[in-house]
Amino acid sequence: MRSGEPIFIAHRLLDEQILDSEGRRCGRVDDIELRGTPPRITALLVGVALYPRRLPRRLRGLARRLAGPERWGANAMRVPWEEVDEVDTAVHLRGKAEELGLGNGDHPENWMVKRLPWN
């Protein structure tokens, strides 16, 4: 991660596991936001609603119907690049998953999680 060091985006960043500051697994890098010329990474995008983008054109319609529309803050989360601490064998974030709206499906306050028999 030193200045100037090269990184291949699809090989090392896209689809990578995301870990929060406490080592909790909270999703994968489902897409990446770029801005400018030359493009600079401005955010990581995480969520089920992003899956249709990753599929071949022919399957996108069906996938979109299954995943639902992109609702930012609900099934699609934007993680600003400043929140990223380090990228090695995973993407490590500076903050906690809940602060960034990640890993909601595993969060104890999630309505579905509360209904599980052991909770």
């Binding site: 699809a10 896209l14 689809d15 990578e16 596991q17 995301i18 909790r24 697994r25 909270c26 999703g27 994968r28 489902d30 995480v46 899956y51 990753r54 599929l55 071949p56 064998t89 995973a90 890993g103 499906g105 595993d106 104890p108 999630n110 999680v113 599980l116 052991w118 909770n119």
Partner: protein
């Protein structure tokens, strides 16, 4: 000294947990139909799983990446999803087969209906998994599975013609389609992907790091090789049925040679060993399904996290177990389910094997622990073999009418 002890225990657990219902069905039938002529295929499959498991274990220990993390990184979302769906379907079939096998054995030991025992078996597994930590679960099924050693004792007791047995280790091709089907079946039963996927996630559950690489190597190579001896013993005892003409596709008859050699004790050891082998395999295959789903999607996962910290992983495990239960209760013969699970496993195998092979050889991920010359050669040789078998599997299944001949 403690390290050696720990490694030895790991090898013992690997040995005890090596067999599952696929091996029991295919290997004993192979012996009954083809005498010792398929022993070479057992050895080939055993060596294959040792190679694949060692690579997966090494990747997990060095990079902390289990199989489906690697698959998503290397194949991307689209192709990775294909792999996930294929793996999940195969795993469901496998769990169903193992549950069915457990129910059959319980039927032999106790008195109630098959359906009742399917439910009892499923509930029993949930209880065991809920009560024990990861290591405890593996040790319980692994150590108790050692009762299967009675099959080696039986084979020795029957005093087969060792010259003929030795001949079986030399590859021969009888040319019949049924023989070729069993080559695929015996190999595939030894190289079930769920076992390797479980091993890889298990490495992370147990906290393996670079310092665990020797343990990984010994577990995979020594543990699985010893397991291969057990698998060969099944073939030998399967042949001993041949003159009697009993159909070994009925699971109960698999245990009969042990009774013939050692009476009631032998029978109980055989049935008990089978129960723990199959039970362990049911846990491994159902966990595998949940591991794969959670890892692919980026959820929290692992028995070591517990149901509170990994709720989706835990819930998915219960759902998979339940779905598998429904499959068995639908009335399909568990032995048939087993055959489908083994055959489709090898069809799906290349897709989950190749990304691991590539990452195991990638220095930018593995550093100095990347595949050396021997591992690279073996890894690719097995990939070629797996592709050939994957292509041949379904045609052979259809041509032989599911091994019916």
């Amino acid at each position: 000294m403690r390290a050696i002890f720990k490694i030895a225990l790991g090898i013992i657990a690997a040995l005890g947990g090596f067999l599952d219902i696929g091996d029991l069905v295919f290997n004993t039938q192979a012996g009954a139909l083809f005498r010792y002529d398929l022993l070479w295929a057992v050895v080939l499959g055993t060596a294959g799983i040792a190679v694949y498991a060692e690579m997966c274990g090494r990747v997990a220990a060095v990079t902390q990446r289990p199989v489906f993390d690697v698959i998503r990184m290397r194949l991307g979302f689209g192709m990775g999803l294909v792999g996930l769906i294929a793996s999940t379907l195969v795993n469901l079939l496998t769990v169903a087969a193992e549950l069915g096998g457990l129910a059959i054995i319980l039927e032999l030991l106790f008195d109630a209906t098959f359906s009742m025992f399917v439910v009892v078996a499923a509930i029993g597994l949930v209880v065991v998994v809920a009560l024990l930590p990861f290591g405890g679960i593996e040790r319980l099924f692994g150590y108790c599975g050692l009762m299967m050693l009675v099959f080696i004792a039986t084979a020795l007791h029957q005093g087969p013609d060792w010259g003929e047995v030795a001949h079986g280790f030399v590859p021969s091709f009888s040319g019949s389609t049924l023989y070729l089907y069993f080559v695929v079946g015996v190999f595939a039963a030894a190289l079930m992907p769920y076992e390797v996927h479980f091993y890889s996630s298990g490495a992370i559950e147990e906290g393996w790091t670079e310092s665990s690489l020797r343990e990984n190597r010994l577990n995979a190579i020594v543990g699985y090789s010893l397991g291969g001896i057990l698998a060969c013993a099944l073939v030998v005892s399967g042949f001993l049925f041949h003159p009697v003409g009993v159909d070994p596709s009925d699971l109960g008859t698999v245990a009969l040679p042990a009774q013939g050699a050692f009476g009631e004790t032998g029978l109980l050891l055989a049935l008990g060993g089978m129960m723990f082998c199959i039970g362990g395999a049911a846990v491994d295959s159902s966990f595998s399904a949940s591991y794969n789903l959670a890892q692919f999607l980026g959820w929290e996962w692992g028995r070591y996290r517990g149901p509170r910290k990994a709720p989706r992983f835990t819930a998915s495990w219960l759902v998979f177990l339940f779905l598998a239960m429904l499959i068995v209760l639908s009335g399909i013969n568990p032995v048939e389910i087993t055959e489908y699970s083994v055959v489709f496993s090898v069809v799906a195998l290349p897709l989950t094997y190749l990304p691991i092979l590539m990452i195991a050889g990638d220095r930018s991920f593995m550093g100095k622990h990347a595949n050396g010359r021997v591992s690279t050669l073996l890894g690719w040789a097995y990939f070629a073999l797996i592709v050939v078998l994957a292509v041949a599997a379904v045609p052979l299944l259809l041509a032989t009418n599911g091994g019916g001949g």
